[in-house]
Structures are given as C-alpha cells and as structure tokens.
Amino acid sequence: MDYCPHTSDDIARMQAVLGIKSLDDLFADIPRKFRLDGLPGVPAPLSEQETLSFMQALAAKNTLPRVTLTGAGAYAHYIPAVVGHLVGRAEFYTAYTPYQAEISQGLLQAIYEYQTMIAHLTGTEIANASLYDGASAAAEAAMLCAKMSDRPRLVVARSVHPHYRQVLQTYAWANGCSVTEVPYRASGRVDLPALAALLDQDVAAVIVQSPNFFGCLEEIRPLADETHRCGALLVAAFTDGTGLGILKPAGACGADFVVGEGQSFGNPMNYGGPYLGIFAAREKYLRRIPGRLAGATVDKNGRRGFVLTLQTREQHIRREKATSNICSNEALCALAACVYLAALGKNLARLARLNVDKAQYLKNRLADLAGWSEVFSAPGYNEFTLRCPDARAANERLAAEGIVGGYDLRADYPELDGALVLCATELLSREDMDRVAQILKS
C-alpha cells in the first residue's frame, strides 16, 4: 500500500508540464554512481489488512502484565477515556507546531492552559510547552544554569533517577562541564552537609529530585538555601507527577527550576515514550528558558488570541545563540496532560491520596515478609525501597506470574544490592497486592 493518489494519467500530464520524459529525470542531480535501483533488504509492501495482522502478531509477542510494580520514571495510571477521545481529534494530532497562529488557535490556547496548570502545580511562575522527557528537561535546566552563570560544575544528588543523571552527564560532558554526585543519607535523603562541602563558586547548579528515585521526599528548602548560598541554582525534579496533587511543589520551596516527567498525566507507558519533559521556572528566567512558549495577545479588534512567543530564544531565529536546539517537542503529550489535569481537577488530590494509601498498604504487606525491610526512613509518596532476601529471585517469581516486579537497584546502586524500589498506584487492587505478598512469601 502506498498513499500516493496519482494515476498514471496524472503523472503523464505532470511530466508534460515539467517537460520531462521520465521520473528519473527528476533525480538527475544525484550523481549517477550513487543512484540506487531498488531497495535491497527492504521487504515488499503489505496491504492494510496484512499490516494489521503482522503488527498484531508482533504486539502479541509481548506479555501484557496484569500488575506492574515498577515506577522508576514511568507510571501505570488510569487514563480517563476522555483524554484519548480529545487528543485523538484529527485537528490536533495531524497539525504541526502552530507557527501560523490564526489557523492554530486551538493548540495555542491548549498549550497556554497547559503552561498555566504546570506552573501552578510546580509552584513556579512559568512553564514551557514541554521538552522531550524528564531526563532531558533536567539536563537542559542544568546546562542553562551553567550557561547563565558561566560556571563549569554541576552537582547532582545520587538519589536522582539514574537515567536523569546519565543524561545530565552526557549533556555536561558535551559542554565541558563536570558533574559531581552528592551522596544520600540513611534517611534516603541528600546528605546536606556533604552537599555544603561540595559547593563553591564554580558550581552552577544543584540537581535533586523529590520524591527521589528511592521514593523519599527531600527537604527542598534547606537544599535551596544551601545551593543559593554559593550563588548556584537549584533544579528540582519530581518522579510521579500525580504526587503534586498533594505534595508541596519544589517551586514553593525555593527551587529555581522544576523539571520532571509528565507521562503520569494522561500518557500511556508505551514502553518508554513518547513522554513529555516538564520544564518550569521562576519568572525571571522567562527569556532564557528552552522550548516553545504560547502567550496571550490580542488581534486588532482587541480579541484575545494566542501566539508562539519569545521566539527569539529559539533556534529557528537565533540559531547557534538559541537557548536550546529543540524544535519539535512533545506537544500532543502536553495536550494529553492538559486534558488529564482539567479532567481530574481537584480530584488529583484524591487520586494522590489513594496512591499513598495503596503504597502504604503494599509496603506494610511486604515489610511483614520474612527478610524484607524498609531501607530508608524518610517518608515518600507512592514509591518505596525495600531490602529483601534475594531481589532478583523475587522479581523472577513475580514475572513467572505475569507481574512486573520492583526496580532492582543492584546495577545502578551496587551499594544497595538486594533492594527493590516498588510503586503502587490506583491501578493496584488490594487483591493484587495480597497476591503479590502471597507469591513472595511462598
């Protein structure tokens, strides 16, 4: 199946207009020796019916777990049916970046609404229209701090999501910045004295996460104070965004940038993407931040309308001097987040409470098992870290029952070998959790 509507007659008539004899003439600029004849290695076309069967067969090779106990940067939440119906409106999803505002008011207004919700949720004044994902958003924030301050060092908490730290490392290296890790304490939180010891005039930013990768809530205010003392900026990430329904956001505790993964807001897990990088900041950085921004303005009759604004920050205008290279972002995921948040409204707090209840239940059930115990003492949201007799065996036992177990910390934190980070959301029923305990007990 191809999707080219031309009939052979169309092609003949168009060739006549162009004065060419064959379609090959159109490719005359490609030096002959480099011209291909066919595409070896690429299979023959499939009809639509065949495509569907083929892809269904592929999807069926996956095992869809009934229960997922891993969070660790991607969260299994219920997505209200409205989200898909609205995001699936063709006018939204078959559009591109709203460069021409008058014909794109729908998306521009929705993004403006999204920005507003995110700024509020994160406790900041401004938010952009999304970056690629939480990890790259954290990296972009850190690079921005480095650029603004012209300082070469970044300090990141070891309790930050390993992927975030790895992406940060990559971006930092490419920009000639160094990254130092600050350890965590027995509570699971950043070691504040250790941080203080690491900070100096060369540090551009401190990057922390709360709840952190272990599920523990950080005390942002003292971290911010300490960070600011040396003139550095605090980039605070979060894990599962639904927690913001009840948790005090980092923006309200002195963070300069709040970043995180927005997948929890109405986007399926999709084996890792597309997700959306939430990027929020203090107002004073408005003209420095990366990414698109929708802004309100008026037309000549004074009617409110929305445009992409402050585009002079962006690559298509400022090129190498742009605040980032980002062009396509995750607009549709941001739209899903916007619809999700508008659908939940204040029920986001109820949802978050339910997540806490479930996590507490699961934690208590598992911590009761012989050889299982909590690793950290700091309170958390819907994730927690448990040490157990044999983490790998536990996960294998769960997998055998079609359950995705906890996140095994061994590879990323050798010092925490034997520990699992587990996550409970509203999708887990008490029955599910009892069953998990049962499986792990026997």
Binding site: L26, E91, T94, I103, E113, M269, L332
Partner: protein, 482 residues
C-alpha cells in the same frame, strides 16, 4: 473562546477516583504536614464541558486531515490511519519500559528490525532510535563526533554549517560545545567548494550538511564535498530531515555521510501532534558505532536484550529508549509501503514539488531555477517591490483560501522566502487548486494589496499582535482579582 479556567466551578470534576479498598492513612502522619501543598488550583469542570471545550478548541486548529498543509521542511504528508490503530494496540501501549525483556519480546524485535531496515534504506552501519526528535538526533550525532575526536585525541573545536541550514544545526553544534562556522552557499544554492576548501581546516570536526538542502536542492558536488571533508580528517554529518526526497534513490552512507539523523515523524509519516512527538534516529558508519548512545539492543540466547556495556558510548540522551510508540507507527508505515512504496513516495514527492515550482513560476520569483527535490523555495520580493505586500501577508491570505501556509522567511538566504513542500500524498487536483490560489493572491496583491495585508479574514481571530506578546509576555493565566 473562554479558557478552561474561566469555565471552572468549585465542586465539579470530569474524572472521578475509585473509592479506596485499603485503609486510608493520615497524610499528616505518613508524609507530614510540611510536605503537603496548600492549594490545588486546577480547573473544575464536568465531563460535558471538558469535552465541549477541547472539541471546540480542536475546531480552531488546522491539521493535514482538513486540507493541504505545504509547510516546507516539515513534510506534512497524510498519515495513514492504520498506523494509529496499530500503535494503540494494548500490547504496545501497556508495557512499562523497565519491564524485564521477557515481557517485551515483540517490542525488542520491532525496534531491532526497525534499525536493520533503516540501515538498509540509508546505507549506514547501525542506528540508535533513542533521540526524541530530529534536533535531538542532531545533538546525539554531534556528540558522537565529539567523542570520536576525543577518542582520537584530536581537538577540533569547530563545525561548518552552510548558511542554508536549519536553525537546529547550529544550535545543536553549539549545545555540544562546538563553535559553528557558517559556510556561504554558491550561486546555484549548493556548497561553495572554494569556501569549503578555505574553511575546512584542522580545527574543523565536521561539516553538517542537509541534503537535499533547505532550498530543496540536491548537492550535486556531494562526492567532492565528502572528499574534502574526509581528506582533512573531518566527518560528514547529514541532516536527514529531508530524506523523503531520496528514499530508494540514493543512500547517505554511499554518498559519504558518516552520521545522519532522520526525522521519522516526517519521512515515515507519523502525525506531528501539533508540534510533537517526533523521533530522531541516528545512523552511523562503521567509524562511529562505538559511540552510539546506550542502551542498545543486542542479540542474546533468549532473542534480544538491552545492553549498556559499550565503554566508548556517549552515554544516554534520554530516559529509556526513545519515543517508542512513534517508532511503532513509523515501522508500520515502512512495512506497509515496503520497498516499492518508499520509492514511489520519493518519486511522487519530488514530482509534486517540481510541478508546483513550474506552475507558480509566472507568479513569484524563483531564486534557484533548477530541478528541485521534495520542496521548492520562492521569493515574495516581486510582491514587496510592486505593492508592499510581504510574504507574511501572502501566507495569511492563503488561510482564507483554506490552506495552511507554507513555511515562510526560511531559508534565511532567500529574501521573503516561501518554502513549499507538497509531499507525495497530495493529488494533482489539490496542487492545481493550490497553485490557482497562489496565483490569485499574487494578482490580488497587485489589484487590492490592502485586502492581502488585512488577511486572514476568515479566522476566529484576526492577525495577532506578536510584538505585544513578546513585549508583555503573558504565558500563564492568573485569576483576575475578585
């Protein structure tokens, strides 16, 4: 239209939350009051009003499904619906990215086969699917170049970028710590070999070339260009965002490119989502495979698994593995078109662009009058000179004719640029009608320039004040004081 906040009313909600089936804990006890937020100020609306709000918003937006969207450089082809259905299969949507590989056999096979097919189509040794969009792919590619020279112990601080390049190219170079040097184009819109010769010093890590370039022109001297770059120890980076022009016609790997990024959302037809998500795989020649980001998929006894065990990798550029569900759509598209379909797509895309170029020549200035590839670039200079009508005005007027405007004022090297990319999914009738509209606007610009300047006349809002928006930024709504 009102904002969702403006129709909010305390006590309403569109989505509910199940009652608990476990004991409710006290948040004060479990978390502590100091960690709790004070207010949660999200919109409160019923499902009825929520649906009406966003449905109405959608109706104030233009997408490919409504009509012709010849936004140059963005490849707004029609996106087959089957690929949406495929990507929505629960087997693809429901899996956690950290699930053990045994749960993800189908996903791993899909990703691995996608890499293999991209290697075949583009003539590269390997691909990573991790980058989330074209610019992200560029960054990844440039990072690999950096690592390559770091490994070799060569300090090359610069990257050459033609003046016709997309803004993401210099921005990606800069975000990777390179100094970018602009390479002026020659009279026929290609690489100026003499300037290249002069600028391609020992200090230059790479030339970043878009081919076909943003003028829609294929680099005729590609062989010579590649030779110069390579002879001086540099690498040739290819911005493959325009790959739709040459699918099955030539392969960047054969042309001498050491690394390219693709824009799957363009070339492989995934809906652009109002600005994203995209997917920007990066392909490399043998020289660079060691530097690919991790994790990579490797064969193992059970089939395939993820591995991060590549000591020379640049690391990670994103959490997890990329925009998986975008890749599913692209893969489904690729498989349904097959070899024959991809070739036909390229042929028809190029035919359509040349047809438009030919038909609009009488109405608009054509700065580079040669066979173009997938897009053509006109200039609105004649209109400016004759009647003060600018390219923006023409673009806005097109809206009234039912079209999404082309890309305008890009590439920067064409004054008053009008960059038209029709893509292969448009019929001759659509192209003819569009050309008629463009010609009509050209005539109107002469006969009634004010009407063009007042455009658009048919939209819910008139031309918006962008200057005001930038001068007094309002990017976040706040409740009016009571």
């Amino acid at each position: 239209m009102q904002l969702i906040f403006e129709i909010s009313k305390p006590g309403r909600a569109a989505a509910d939350v199940p009652a608990g089936d476990v004991p409710a804990v006290s948040l004060e006890d479990v978390i502590g009051a100091s960690f709790m937020r004070e207010e949660l100020d999200l919109p409160e609306v019923s499902e009825t009003d929520l649906v009406r709000h966003y449905t109405s918003l959608s109706r104030r937006n233009f997408g490919v499904d409504l009509g012709f969207y010849p936004l140059g450089s963005c490849t707004m082809k029609y996106n087959p619906k089957i690929n949406e259905n495929v990507a929505a299969l629960p087997g693809f949507t429901g899996l956690h990215p950290a699930a053990p590989e045994a749960f993800a056999r189908g996903n791993l096979e899909l990703l691995f086969d996608m890499q293999r097919l991209l290697c075949a189509i583009f003539g590269m040794a390997d691909f990573t699917l991790q980058p989330a969009a074209g610019a992200h792919g560029e960054l990844t590619g440039v990072m690999m170049i950096r690592k390559y020279f770091e490994k070799k112990g060569e300090k090359r601080r610069r990257i050459l970028i033609p003046d016709a390049a997309h803004g993401t190219n210099p921005a990606s170079g800069a975000l990777c710590g390179f100094e970018t040097v602009t390479l002026g184009s020659n009279a026929e819109g290609g690489v100026d070999l003499r300037r290249l010769d002069a600028l391609m010093t020992e200090d230059v890590a790479a030339l970043m070339l878009t081919n076909p370039n943003t003028l829609g022109l294929f680099e005729r001297n590609i062989e010579e260009v590649a030779r110069v770059v390579h002879d001086r120890g540099g690498l040739l980076y290819g911005d493959g965002a325009n790959a739709n022009a040459f699918l099955g016609k030539t392969r960047p790997g054969d042309l001498g490119f050491d690394v390219i990024q693709l824009n799957l959302h363009k070339t492989f037809s995934t809906p652009h989502g109002g600005g994203g998500p995209g997917s920007g795989p990066v392909g490399v020649g043998e020289k660079l495979t060691d530097f690919l980001p991790v994790p990579r998929i490797v064969p193992c006894e059970a089939g395939l698994r993820w591995s991060s065990d590549f000591p020379d990798t640049i690391g990670r550029v994103r959490a997890f593995y990329g925009n998986f569900s975008v890749i599913v759509k692209a893969y489904s598209y690729l498989r349904s078109l097959g070899a024959a379909g991809l070739i036909r797509a390229a042929e028809m895309a190029v035919l359509n662009a040349n047809y438009i170029k030919e038909k609009l020549k009488p109405s608009f200035d054509l700065p580079y009058d040669r066979i173009c590839m997938h897009e053509c670039v006109f200039s609105g200079s004649r209109q400016v000179a004759l009647s003060g009508v600018h390219t923006t005005d023409i673009a806005k007027r097109l809206i009234d004719f039912g079209y999404h405007p082309p890309t305008i004022y890009f590439p920067l090297i064409v004054a008053e640029a009008i960059m038209i990319e029709p893509t292969e999914t448009e019929s001759k009738e659509t192209l003819d009608a569009f050309c008629d509209a463009m010609a009509a606007i050209a005539r109107e610009a002469e006969e009634n320039p004010q009407r063009v300047k007042d455009a658009p006349l048919s939209t819910p809002v008139g031309r918006l004040d962008e200057v005001l928006a930038a001068r007094k930024p309002d990017v976040c709504w706040s409740k009016p004081k009571a």
